[in-house]
């Protein structure tokens, strides 16, 4: 049904999106918690930096990543020399670009869910003998689960769709960094590539709709469990 090239692009896109979401989730929860629950100097700055990918052109983000994470960049150079890990022109780099681009969406959703958690329940848990950390994992996290799920799905969908940051940072290497979006772009540039591009567009559509459907189903299930349906 799908050609090997299409399968490659699909598999790569899913891989990049899953890695991006999985790797950024713990950080997103931590940042959401800091922004929702803590007051510290420079909070506004952190908030702004987290939201930068939403307001900057993706190409600019890709360019920043190239400077920071390229093999000669301050972080990328260290990674390369210490672990032999090269991000530029690799699928791991594509995952990083997707993660950075979708990070603000994820943080927003998780932060909203966290702010909706009844602090009274957390205090009740402490009077019952649970430490702060224990309360977070046994009460706060389960209660913000709908937001975590929604945030993850939105981030997943946005990771699938990233174009500008990815192509700027890791290029358009077939079989390595050519995700669905990049493949569509390439085919659209090719003479007589339109039919093939359309097939990929349909695949993207099915993927996006499935993600939304799964998200809605999971969220409804969790809400019912929490008695908020």
């Amino acid at each position: 049904m799908l050609t090997p090239v299409e399968l490659d692009a699909l598999r790569l896109s899913l891989q990049v999106a899953v890695v991006a979401v999985a790797a950024s989730l713990p950080f997103a929860v931590a940042v959401a918690w800091l922004l929702a629950r803590r007051d510290f100097a420079g909070k506004t700055l952190v908030d702004a930096i987290v939201h930068l990918p939403l307001v900057l052109p993706p190409v600019v983000i890709g360019f920043f990543l190239l400077i920071l994470l390229g093999t000669k960049g301050p972080i990328g150079g260290w990674l390369y020399e210490t672990f032999g890990l090269r991000l530029i022109f690799t699928r791991w780099g594509a995952a990083v670009a997707a993660a950075v681009m979708s990070f603000p969406l994820m943080v927003r959703s998780i932060r909203l869910a966290l702010e909706a958690v009844d602090r009274g329940l957390e205090f009740a848990a402490r009077t019952l003998g649970a430490s702060r950390l224990d309360v977070f994992f046994s009460v706060t996290l389960p209660l913000m689960l709908p937001g975590v799920l929604t945030g993850s799905i939105v981030a997943f969908a946005s990771s699938l769709g990233d174009f500008g940051a990815t192509i700027t940072f890791v290029g358009n290497v077939a079989g390595e960094t050519q995700t669905l979006s990049l493949a569509i772009y390439s085919l659209a540039q090719t003479p007589d590539g339109e039919a093939a591009a359309l097939r990929l567009v349909l695949i993207s559509l099915v993927l996006a709709l499935s993600a939304l459907f799964v998200s809605e189903m999971l969220a409804r299930r969790v809400r019912r469990m929490l008695g908020r349906a």
Binding site: G120, A124, T127, L128, G129, G227
Partner: protein, 395 residues
């Protein structure tokens, strides 16, 4: 952690919350149910939350026995979770993501390492609170009364050395309140766990409390065993401002099968009430609402009212709350007992009621009904000194 009966709760603390200033110096027994009573905004919840650790005092010391919760001079602050408390909130605050069983287990699991004496058993609590049929249910499927019962159980199973309750009945309707009250009495009596109970309802306090702390405008007005506090003139005025009524301690003396009446021996007089199912000798407390008492200047003869109690007027005043036609009269009927009476100001003038005047208080038996009035089984805080009726209450 020794649980000797001599342990006491010491709260010496000051706390500024915005414009509200709270300060107290209390030494409370760790036994029975100590009610913290006052109007809304008086500082009742502040007091209990200082003990719980939700608020940190600006200065002072809070300790149970030898366990120090907070000490500003020694720089001690025991985290909430290590205070060994159980807290029942006005809104039950059950964890929505856990079943009833999961909620009950939450504190129990975490208390495992800490509990010293005989642990409160899961089955005993489930039986006592009637939770057996609810265990697998989710909190959002429970009624308000059921939720609060689960909250009691959850707090109890955390093996607390002190139970805190912040207006646990305030969000329930009258029927649910009546359903829950007996459970609180059983917690107090059968598990013998000391309870700090915040309330602004005189009915609840009179029914449940063994000791009373009156709070007003961020200060403790008075504190002590409930019967002592109620004898204190200023405290009683303060207390009855909300809903006047007298609290009378009594012992069930005898039952009359023919007329289905019971005789209660009070301090210096007796009361005839519709039959109660309590063995003679049982100590009871009952509340006589001021509006159910009438006054007569002479000993009434041919009237239907059964209970006639002689006394002398202590004060005649108008109520701050209530209808402008009302006057509140207090009548001392025995050394330890004062009845309060609501009559019209017109009656006061017509009868010429002044302090010192001898009067007869008339109380209809039928209003002293076990369900409608506070007739709580419980340990009377003060033994009744003269069990034999010494007046004309029997007719």
């Amino acid at each position: 952690m020794s649980e000797s009966a001599a342990e006491r709760l010491r709260i010496d603390a000051a706390k500024q919350l915005g414009a509200f200033e709270f300060a107290c110096d209390l030494d409370l027994p760790l036994s029975g149910l100590t009610a913290i009573f006052g109007v809304s905004g008086a500082g009742k919840s502040t007091l209990i939350n200082l003990v719980a650790g939700m608020h940190q005092p600006d200065r002072g010391r809070i300790a149970i026995g030898s366990t120090v919760f907070f000490d500003s001079s020694a720089r001690v602050l025991l985290p909430v979770e290590r205070r060994g408390l159980g807290y029942v909130f006005q809104d039950a605050r059950l964890f929505p993501h856990l079943s009833v069983r999961g909620n009950l287990d939450y504190g129990r699991r975490r208390a495992g390492a800490r509990s010293g004496g005989a642990p409160v058993a899961f089955d005993a609590v489930v039986d006592l609170l009637g939770l057996g049929a609810l265990l697998e249910r989710r909190p959002h499927t429970l009624s308000g009364g059921e939720k609060q019962r689960v909250a009691f159980g959850r707090a109890l199973l955390a093996q607390p050395r002190l139970l805190l309750m912040d207006e646990p009945l305030a969000s329930l309707d009258a029927a649910r309140k009546a359903e829950i009250l007996p459970y609180i009495e059983r917690l107090r009596d059968e598990f013998a766990i000391p309870i700090l109970y915040v309330s602004h309802s005189p009915d609840e306090v009179l029914r449940l409390a063994t000791a009373l702390v009156l709070v007003d405008a961020g200060r403790v007005v008075t504190a002590g065993p409930i019967s002592d506090v109620l004898l204190d003139e200023s405290a009683r005025q303060f207390f009855s401002a909300a809903e006047p009524g007298a609290l009378v301690f009594a012992v069930v003396a005898s039952h009359d099968d023919r007329y289905q009446l019971s005789t209660l021996a009070c301090d210096g007089f007796a009361l005839r009430v519709p039959r109660v199912d309590l063995a003679p000798g049982t100590q009871v407390r009952l509340r006589i609402p001021a509006r159910e008492v009438a006054l007569a200047l002479v000993r009434p003869g041919d009237v239907s009212i059964t209970n006639r109690i002689e006394g002398s007027i202590e004060s005649v005043g108008s109520r701050s709350a209530g209808h402008p036609a009302h006057a509140l009269v207090t009548v001392r009927v025995s050394p330890s007992t004062v009845l309060v009476v609501t009559i019209t100001r017109e009656s006061v003038d017509r009868l010429g009621l002044v302090p010192g005047l001898r009067v007869w208080c008339l109380v209809k038996s039928v209003v002293l009904d076990a369900s409608a009035l506070v007739l709580a089984r419980g340990r009377a805080a003060r033994p009744v000194s003269q069990p034999l009726p010494a007046n004309d209450a029997r007719v």
